[in-house]
Structures are given as structure tokens and as C-alpha cells.
């Protein structure tokens, strides 16, 4: 079923892209200046959620629902990355 892009939806999509890229830049600031390693790992989670939001906004803007597969893949792989980083953190500081 095709979604008709009305003016309301166009304004909402532009606003949502603006807010999401603003939060991506805030996360990038914390990623660059984070004092410790776990801060940077935590920001990776935020960046993954924001990119899922950007994919969904892009789907609503263009109507290409195929890109939901990318959201599924990101949701799976970020979990694995978080577990691996936690394991690495405990092993690195154990010495």
C-alpha cells in the first residue's frame, strides 16, 4: 500500500531529520571527548538507535520499505558489539 506524501508529512520528515542529525552531532561530541572507554561504548548504542531512526524517516520519505531489513541488521549487530566490548573491557583491565 502506497503512502501519499502530504505537506504535513513533508514538514514532519524534515523536522525529524534535523533533530536526528542534531542528536548525532551531540553523540559525536561525547564520542570525541569522552573521558573513559565505557563512555565511548555507550555512545555507540545511541548512534545505532539514531541510525535506526534515520532509516525509518527515510522509509517514510521515499516509500522504500526494503530498508527495514537494514534496521533489523543494525538491531542485531549492535547487541553483539556491545557484548564483545564489555568482554574486552573486563579482560583489558584485569591485568
Amino acid at each position: 500500500m502506497e503512502l501519499e506524501i502530504s505537506n504535513v508529512l513533508k514538514v514532519a520528515v524534515h523536522f525529524s531529520f534535523f533533530v536526528l542529525s542534531l542528536s548525532l552531532f551531540l553523540g559525536l561530541y561525547r564520542l570525541l571527548t569522552g573521558p573513559t572507554l565505557p563512555d565511548r561504548i555507550v555512545v555507540m548504542d545511541l548512534i545505532a538507535s539514531v541510525s535506526i531512526g534515520m532509516i525509518i524517516t527515510y522509509i517514510i520519505a521515499t516509500g522504500q520499505t526494503v530498508f527495514l531489513n537494514v534496521a533489523v541488521a543494525i538491531a542485531i549487530f549492535v547487541f553483539l558489539g556491545n557484548i564483545a566490548f564489555a568482554n574486552y573491557l573486563t579482560r583489558r583491565y584485569k591485568k
Binding site: V8, S16, L20, P38, D45, I60, A71
Partner: protein, 111 residues
């Protein structure tokens, strides 16, 4: 009418993600930052997936949206618990204003 509902869910989701990002910048501790991210960002992603599943009424889209929601709700608490346990075990610096830390007291009492 449908586009107003989709626009509402989209804007609410992106604003929740902005709240999470502001919390990451403003808080001064690993545990507080994790507290900000894991709740606000997953609620934002959930609201945006509700928006896309209202907009496109088809079986495949609904299955994939439910898959993403279930993955986020299942995996975010586990991952954040692992990372906070690791950073507590490696003695990361804590911010101001902590009232109690029961894990540290328990480790001090029975080493």
C-alpha cells in the same frame, strides 16, 4: 488523518532521541549516561517503528517492525547491564551525588 498520526509519532520519536543525546552530553558519569540512553533512545526507536507500521499496512512491514521492537526490548537491558557491570568491575570514576553503592559494600565485606 493518517498522515497527522504518522507525523505525531515521527516527531515524538525523534524528540526522545534528542533527549537521550542531551542526557549523554550533560551527565557526568558512565552509569548516568547509560541510564539516559537505554530508556529514551529505545522508546524513540519504538515510536518511530509504530509510525512506519501505521503508514504501510502490509504483512512484511509489520513482521519486520515487530522483529526490531522485540530485539531492542530484549537486548538493550542485557547489553547495558553487561557494560555497567564491566565498568563497575574495572572501577571507573563515579560522579557526584551517589547515595548508595550496594555492590561495592558487598565486595568490601566479603572479598
Amino acid at each position: 488523518m493518517t498522515d497527522w498520526i504518522i507525523a505525531f509519532f515521527l516527531i515524538m520519536g525523534s524528540l526522545f532521541m534528542l533527549v537521550a543525546a542531551i542526557g549523554v552530553v550533560k551527565f557526568d558519569d558512565v552509569y548516568m549516561r547509560m541510564h539516559a540512553i537505554t530508556k529514551a533512545a529505545s522508546l524513540g526507536a519504538l515510536l518511530m517503528l509504530v509510525a512506519v507500521s501505521i503508514g504501510y499496512i502490509s504483512f512484511i512491514v509489520w513482521v519486520e517492525a515487530v522483529m526490531v521492537i522485540v530485539f531492542i526490548i530484549l537486548t538493550t537491558p542485557i547489553a547495558s547491564q553487561m557494560i555497567s557491570k564491566a565498568s563497575h568491575k574495572t572501577k571507573m570514576p563515579k560522579g557526584e551525588g551517589y547515595v548508595a553503592d550496594e555492590l561495592e559494600e558487598a565486595e568490601k565485606n566479603n572479598p
